[in-house]
Subunit: 305 residues, 2 copies
């Protein structure tokens, strides 16, 4: 398999200014795998769910080219559940409920078929759990991309830094980059973080786009100004899925190709936020994606005469 | 004269996390005129100062190609003074002192030589005062660009809308666009504001760049990620000055050329924030500006293979 995706497969209950949902399917790995499946059909998923999870969604993943051999189903247990409410600006949210359930003692097991994956995407999880996946690989992937969140910086910074030191690309948001580096300037923050191990840093800025840094270069991808952001849940994971999916498809990890991967990731994320949960991410056509990417090109294109 | 600039010429006292200044030269029109002077030497300035203003700075303006015929000097009176302190993130600030002084009853008088200016830049001022300048023009300028601020939306919304209805380009920041339109989505906000009169809306997003809208198209110019933002004062005015200066030089007001003008405006603003006040904006070379513009091109450039 060419791409291994690790992360949560879970339930979310979401409230935004535009409406609310009961339990719907969510979780970092769900968004990542679905987004990546538009670029490659060689995907392995490593995650854990309870026996309360809808078979429908698992069938959707399978028919999208995602192997579920590494998905543990815990009999008599419940899937991870998160409930949150977004504020009016959609840039901030309150967590109303978190039930770890099966995620509390998740021990990922990478199936043999996935131990030589060329691309490894570590969705947000306990840093030590992310690391145990890297350690199970039979050969070093061509590229390891890692997402994480401020929570681990608060409670497990040293563990987090150990995992960060082992990856090639770290993808975090601007406030996380500031917290991790202790620097407000994102340029300075990027250099500090790149000295922690990764050769590439992606700073996600939500509606303000994303920055791609290596030690010498920087690339700025805008976010598409949208008429309406309906539900931002999963936008960052979808972005990561589009990014790693495009790289898995093209098998080119140059900085130039990562720029293109960022644009594809941004395009995929712009779909996700148009509906609740994974709804908009299902059943996109190649033409839908192509047109959205074209909008990004037109958005930033200018020529100096 | 090809470009008429109207706005405050004033004193600022600024405190940032990096240091503080006593009274230094500031004011919207100072930044606008200086930035524009790198593109055109046919500039008229309409403003008012007291007799406390440093002759040095006026000489600098003159030698930069800015005619001061429309600059009123009030004997025995004091120039406008603003004192402010930026918070650690530099995105917000507190006003510590505002002394209107000569600006309290400012009646702009457009000199005969400027009444046929092709380009008119209205820096932030009382909306009725901005309007009185438009009304003094002998012929309708090819392009009128207007800046304003949230304060006028709070205290003089109807007056403000009358002035907005008379201009071609409105340049405001994202929170002002939301306040003026009553819409959180900047895409929706832009359409509401473009229905108020202007054919072009520029939404300035500080470190997140700027958006250029007409009724059919949108362009996103990033801001250069800077190692250090030293003092953001005047960044928006410098941006406006570079924008209108580039348009005055090229005399092309197409959407395509406005994209270029936005890039030049952003490049000029990226200099201003590197030092206190107007310091960095003095003595730039054509090569400095060219290199900075090149950095913007490299920042956003990607090619889909």
């Amino acid at each position: 398999m060419s791409l291994l995706v690790v992360g949560s497969v879970a339930f979310d209950a979401i409230e935004t200014p535009f409406g609310k949902t009961d339990k719907i399917v969510g979780g970092a790995a769900s968004y990542i795998a679905l987004a990546a499946s538009y670029f490659t059909k060689n995907i392995d998923l490593v995650s854990v769910i309870g026996d309360d999870f809808p078979q429908d969604f698992l069938s959707t993943l399978k028919s999208s080219g995602v192997s579920l051999e590494g998905l543990q189903v815990k009999k008599g247990e419940k899937s991870f559940f998160w409930k949150g409410k977004y504020h009016n600006d959609l840039n901030s949210r309150d967590t109303l409920d978190t039930q770890l359930n099966v995620l509390a003692d998740f021990q990922p097991v990478v199936p043999p078929s996935a131990k030589n994956a060329e691309f490894l995407m570590l969705g947000n999880l306990v840093p030590a759990v992310q690391r145990s996946v890297i350690e199970q690989m039979a050969s070093r992937p061509k590229l390891i991309v890692m997402d994480t969140m401020n929570f681990w910086m608060d409670v497990a910074m040293e563990e987090l830094k150990k995992t960060i030191a082992m990856v090639d690309v770290l993808a975090i948001n601007d406030s996380e980059a500031r917290q991790l580096s202790g620097e407000y300037s994102l340029v300075k923050a990027s250099q500090i973080i790149l000295n922690m191990g990764p050769s590439i840093l992606i700073i996600k800025k939500g509606e303000h786009g994303a920055l791609l840094f290596n030690k010498e270069e920087v690339f700025y991808a805008p976010a598409l100004p949208l008429e309406e952001v309906f539900d931002p849940t999963g936008a960052g994971d979808t972005f990561a899925g589009g990014f790693i999916g495009y790289l898995s498809k093209t098998r080119d990890i140059s900085f130039e190709n990562m720029k293109r991967a960022i644009i594809f990731g941004s395009a995929m994320a712009s779909f996700t936020v148009e509906r609740f949960g994974t709804e908009r991410l299902l059943g996109l056509s190649a033409k839908d994606i192509e047109e959205r990417v074209q909008e990004f090109i037109e958005l930033v294109q200018f020529e100096l005469v």
